[in-house]
Symmetry: C2
């Protein structure tokens, strides 16, 4: 049993985040979109991109550095592509708009490739790529982020964690979901370590040096090409420093949908075989089965279902309750039930 963790239902977290965002003036639909992405992050076990980040979004709206109302607009469009202006709205508002558009295009011509400038942090990249699964399509999403990673051989950070997500549907609701930072460590994980431990953990800058590596550097730049460069947003060293709140983010993001109907028949069957083949491999160590991308998240979702809620560290909840109190929102009520490890 772990006394430092508490259980909160998805519905409670969702309405708590919505409430806080609306309290500072966010359009209700936008608050709902953000809350959904953050709760899904926690639900999938990516706690670094969930409730833990709520204070940042609240502050972005409070300071007016992020727009609380409006809609993204299409700047340029073909049957298969679009350039979108996110109009400095919350990242999930921009992400949902672009992913919907990419899926509509993929339905018509087999692929939709949509990039946005003027966006903000959008939570877990996997949330958007996974929207395509509902349409039995492959989905992809990419975003640039504040510089925290040093290129190979360099002494200065010029690239963010620049995540990549690719989702592909198998049979019977099964799927492949890759959702990874191109750097060795996601920044959110460092932050979360700080908040939980309430002391300094391994710093992002020191992390940089450990995370050099030619391939991560190359892939991080590839994400910049798809995002900041293609969209005409900020990129690389020009992206504002992490936690700077007096400068608009203008992040670049990329959303893709690919319709397997336009390619070889039997896609879902082959996907299922690919996943099963790997899960059934004899493991090198008996108690650590071979997983397919998306399986750790699937386990976390099952764990939450068994527990009847999402387990949070008490320090994260206390911190967010403090934020809520200042803006007149009812705090989360953590259960008194200790959470099994």
């Amino acid at each position: 049993m772990n006394m430092s963790r508490c259980l909160i239902t998805q519905r409670e977290v969702q309405s708590f985040i919505e409430g806080c965002m609306v309290a500072v003036g966010t359009k209700p639909g936008h608050a709902k979109s953000l809350a959904e992405v953050l709760v899904e992050g926690d639900h999938r076990g990516h706690y670094s991109h969930g409730l833990n980040r709520m204070d940042m979004y609240v502050k972005d709206i409070q300071t007016g550095i992020c727009e609380k109302d409006g809609e993204p607009t299409i700047v340029k469009e073909s049957v298969a592509t679009a350039l979108v202006n996110g109009n400095n709205l919350l990242g999930p508002v921009v992400g949902n708009f672009c992913m919907d558009l990419a899926i509509r295009k993929a339905r018509e011509v087999g692929i939709g490739w949509v990039v946005a400038h003027g966006s903000n942090h959008f939570g877990i990249a996997g949330y958007y790529s996974m929207q395509a699964l509902k349409e039995n399509m492959i989905g992809m999403s990419y975003t640039n982020t504040s510089p925290l990673v040093m290129p190979t051989r360099a002494k200065e950070c010029t690239l963010g964690t620049n995540p990549i997500s690719v989702a592909a549907p198998a049979k019977d609701g099964d799927s492949f979901v890759l959702d990874m930072a191109t750097s060795a460590v996601a920044l959110g994980k460092v932050e979360l370590h700080h908040r939980r431990a309430q002391r300094r953990g391994p710093g992002a800058h020191r992390g940089c040096e450990e995370t050099g590596g030619y391939k991560g550097y190359g892939l991080g730049l590839m994400v910049e090409v798809f995002c900041g460069i293609l969209a005409g947003a900020q990129y690389s060293r020009h992206v504002r420093t992490w936690k700077v709140t007096d400068k608009v983010a203008d992040l670049g993001q990329c959303f893709v949908a690919i319709n397997p109907e336009n390619f070889a028949a039997g896609f879902n069957d082959r996907m299922s075989d690919l996943l099963t083949l790997h899960r059934n491999l004899e493991p090198a160590e008996l108690d650590t089965p071979v997983l397919s991308p998306g399986d750790p998240e699937r386990s976390n979702i099952e764990k939450c279902a068994k527990l009847g809620g999402i387990p949070y560290h008490i320090n994260v909840v206390n911190h967010m309750n403090g934020v809520a109190k200042k803006i007149g929102v009812t705090p989360l009520l953590p259960t008194n039930v200790p959470v099994p490890e």
Copy 2:
């Protein structure tokens, strides 16, 4: 000075490989396409995917396991996508066909996403992605390969080196060219080590264990999704074992072109700034400047220009001369000039 290396001009290597391929019955245009890709591999310093592999292609044609004549065919097509049957032709014949098609589609609708089944080894992935640079477009290419990499936690190899290449044009002929195996080490490098040293080096299987790592595994699977799975080709463990020559390869490949004209204006300027920004970073160690993807290959091309040819290890040349002798082709004549290191 290195007495174990010799200098051969690009033109000589090109016509030597063409001659060998034609001698075993390959259609001249196909032999030319293959020779161009292999010479470009050597020219860019990817010696593992150049002349060193010629014997494999000669054998593929001799045994009839790869077709020596014919053309790829389009199976299914939209304005933005295509499924191509490579008809078991040489990889470069399939690759050129698909990349041309992707570029034509990108010219019309901003993107072309083309996948092929029934293909064979296509040399360096960068050769195809770079075709898009001539049209001022972003190019991408992916291929699956014979299983040589163990998934994280597993004891069996189920994935190939599954390379990714992304090329993007900057100003004045400058460019970003990422060309990397998703595994930690490219197989060709192991092979080349064997041929040069004429003894057993670190084996591919041992390499597998070192190359586990969650991210490489995830990206290797992503390449399978784009290639074998989407194209309906062989995939993962179903791809024939490396150097098996009694079974058709039926590799899956993916070729993409993206037209920056369909997105934000100023693409080339931003690309140049991104590359320059990184090259000008203060290096962590004085004598190792920070590079952009494609720079090591650019240096190798400059080195070849200065030398007046491509430097080859004498053992590689002797081996290929042996192959040529058996099929009645005039051997390469290595110069007697020692090659400076």
